[in-house]
């Protein structure tokens, strides 16, 4: 029998493999796409080598849903944007990102005022955040650079956050954002530690 790590509180420790046929009798449950997508990202997610970012940007699984969401963003913005926190003065450059899971309706609408370096995050519908967890928003610079935390996002309503210091060259259309599930209060390491729940890319409007 293959060795298994011993859980000393488990009365069956060391012997659980005997029971695996029981698992095969369970009725299979449809697995949501976001689990694989998050897993796919985490495979390269070592913060020290920037793999998460590289893989995120390279991933076909990322770009396909993002392209669909980008189209949705343009349509939805026509409805939302007119009455929503538009800074005075039409010349202020605004970029947006629709952030969501590939198999679900978009979860957050991000609006970036590049001049003020303020990011507004609006929940388009209530998000489910498990007790003891927080959702953290990350900007993905690409080119092997590690994700930059933008802050925690709410389950509902909207928040405005001042962007952390970063090169202006990163605030351009095509850059990615991701929301990961983290311990309450945010990632303890400064890099994503939990599964990626939502993703999206920045568009100029």
């Amino acid at each position: 029998m293959n060795e298994e790590p011993l859980n000393h509180e488990d009365p069956l420790a060391g012997e659980t493999a005997l029971f695996s046929p029981l698992v095969e009798t369970l009725t299979p449950v449809e697995v949501p796409h976001h689990i694989w997508n998050g897993l796919d990202l985490r495979l390269d997610g070592k913060p020290d080598d920037g793999g998460l970012v590289r893989h995120f940007i390279d991933s076909i699984n990322f770009w396909k849903p993002v392209a669909i969401m980008a189209l949705a963003a343009v349509i939805v913005l026509a409805f939302f944007y007119r009455g929503w926190d538009r800074p005075s003065g039409d010349s202020i450059p605004i970029m947006v990102a629709m952030v969501g899971a590939p198999d679900q309706a978009p979860q957050y609408l991000l609006s970036l005022n590049k001049t003020a370096r303020v990011l507004t995050v609006k929940a388009l519908r209530p998000a489910t955040i498990p007790p003891g967890k927080s959702m953290e928003l990350w900007m993905l610079p690409g080119e092997g650079k590690p994700p930059i935390s933008c802050g925690l996002v709410p389950a509902e309503g909207q928040v405005q956050m001042k962007l952390p210091p970063m090169d202006d060259g990163l605030l351009v259309p095509g850059k990615g954002f991701a929301v990961s599930l983290e311990p309450e209060g945010g990632s303890p390491t400064g890099a994503p530690t939990g599964p990626v729940m939502y993703q999206g890319i920045l568009h100029q409007i």
């Binding site: 005997l18 029971f19 046929p21 029981l22 299979p28 694989w36």
Partner: protein, 183 residues
């Protein structure tokens, strides 16, 4: 639907060489049953999905540890997933289990009907035959520990029997079961 051991072994071997296509295939083949397992143990959808994702990360990282000569591939995978669920239960410090609710579920988890589906494949039939050779107390305590991740102390509380008695049931039941399956 039981999984083909040969196919799983082939994928695990490829995964140990960092083959992502094989990893995706293994995931697609086994994740639906494994999500059913994490849901069964953890009850909460968010925790179950998190445990599933964490488990597959471990499968990816530990695939070189798997030795096909020492057991069935799905057993190795299911063990990783169940251990992940127990870690999760410990992390969230599960609230004391409601006895009434547990008693209701016990029938579903440990009654004869829960074993009927094992009749449909060889490894299942062997396990069912051997489980049926155990006393009812031994079988119930072992199946509750498996499906609910209960400790000896929790088993003792739920079954309302002294700790020593419950430990004996589990130990004796496991010994009988191993002897029977290996025979």
């Amino acid at each position: 639907m039981p999984h083909s051991n040969e196919q799983l072994v082939e994928w695990l071997d490829a995964i140990s060489r960092l083959d992502r296509v094989a990893f995706k295939s293994l995931y697609e083949e086994t994740a639906p049953h494994l999500l059913a397992l994490t849901l069964r143990i953890l009850k909460r959808r968010d925790l179950a999905e998190e445990a599933l994702q964490d488990s597959f990360l471990k499968i990816w990282n530990k695939s070189t540890d798997f030795d096909p000569g020492r057991g069935h591939a799905f057993s190795w995978i299911a063990t990783i997933v169940r251990n992940q669920c127990l870690d999760q239960l410990r992390k969230i410090k599960r609230a004391p289990l409601a006895k009434e609710e547990l008693k209701e579920e016990m029938t579903a988890d440990t009654g004869p009907s829960s074993l009927e589906k094992l009749e449909t494949f060889d490894r299942g039939r062997a396990l069912k035959r051997c489980l049926e050779e155990l006393s009812e107390d031994e079988r119930s305590s072992i199946l509750l520990a498996y499906w609910k991740g209960l400790t000896h102390h929790e088993l003792s509380e739920v079954l309302e029997r002294p700790l020593g008695t419950v430990k004996t049931w589990v130990k004796r039941g496991l010994e009988k079961l191993k002897r029977c399956i290996e025979a």
